[in-house]
Subunit: 183 residues, 2 copies
Amino acid sequence: MPNKPSPSMQDVYTKPGHLFRRMQQIAVAIFVEECGALDLTPVQYAALVAIRDDPGIDATRLSALVAFDRSTLGSVLERLETKELIVRRPTPDDKRVKVLHMTPRGARLLAKAMPAIDRAQERMMAPLAPAERKVMMTLLAKLVHLNNDASRAPLRIEHANARRAAAPRKRRVNGNANEPSHV
Amino acid sequence: MPNKPSPSMQDVYTKPGHLFRRMQQIAVAIFVEECGALDLTPVQYAALVAIRDDPGIDATRLSALVAFDRSTLGSVLERLETKELIVRRPTPDDKRVKVLHMTPRGARLLAKAMPAIDRAQERMMAPLAPAERKVMMTLLAKLVHLNNDASRAPLRIEHANARRAAAPRKRRVNGNANEPSHV
DNA sequence: TCGTTATTGACAGCATACTGACAGACTGCA
DNA sequence: TGCAGTCTGTCAGTATGCTGTCAATAACGA
């Protein structure tokens, strides 16, 4: 038995898992600090943008667009509807589906939130020099992209218009069928 | 470049906030995939390591060591105690405090989990080339470190032994008194 | 056409996280 | 010594996220 010594806390601090968790903690804290007055969370913001980009989208396709779990998205949409930022409407086409639209109020909030969002994104990266930021973002984007299928809620951009475009039915081939084509 | 008045989803995808959230999602998914059989989450793992490193630590100091919110840590410790991986004991010194110790069962689980943890950390970074991983980790560590005070639960290593070492009482000067001295 | 399969939104249950508040215990200092 | 202020664990409330499951509905295939 090699009897490798167990990891110490100092080891944990330098591991990607710990650092990603910390960075997410920090990013959310900064976001809320900037947007808290507008009562808008990172997740709600992303959902709003996606709905405005794709009016009439349904919840399942939205979850693929913003990479939320379908279960989680339900409660997020409920909160957005309670705040009257979006509406959920049934469709005659498919009685299972409820389509999503942004309200004028939602549009106003989004416009108002923009400067705060920008400040938040700026602050997260502030400790790095401009050149470092660029490297960081490139590597992070690559990492997220190539790990896309690791999470339960992978990003699926090509799904967004599937319904509307009457795309051919999907054939799930055991595991990850849709490798995204964009890089 | 962004001639659009409002951000589109394509913009959101390239913003640090979105990418950090995705990466955390992915990191947790990979961790759970590797360690799920052991019924161990990333947070529980970090707490276990810290308790083993610092037997007799109390919950408040532990929360500073692993950068959890004090409120959150309560329920985490409760779950660890239910699984009999740790014990919480009152101390005669200070009736408010409950000190934490790992059980033999906790030690066994930690030892058993090590290979899975290593695999998980490895998999998260797998899409990057070795040189890229190094750059990524360096920049990420720097970013987390310099943003440390942005979250509610900043890392406070110097607190860990405060009680035991009978350190001089800290003087809170309006706001965040402990600016980390290490950079 | 009709049974099988897939999809959709919803829900229950668990685990992080954060805000804010609290009672009880402790400490420093007047 | 007494008391004002601090610290500790805990709790209620809110918001993500995940694993499952379910009924209703839709689409497919023999």
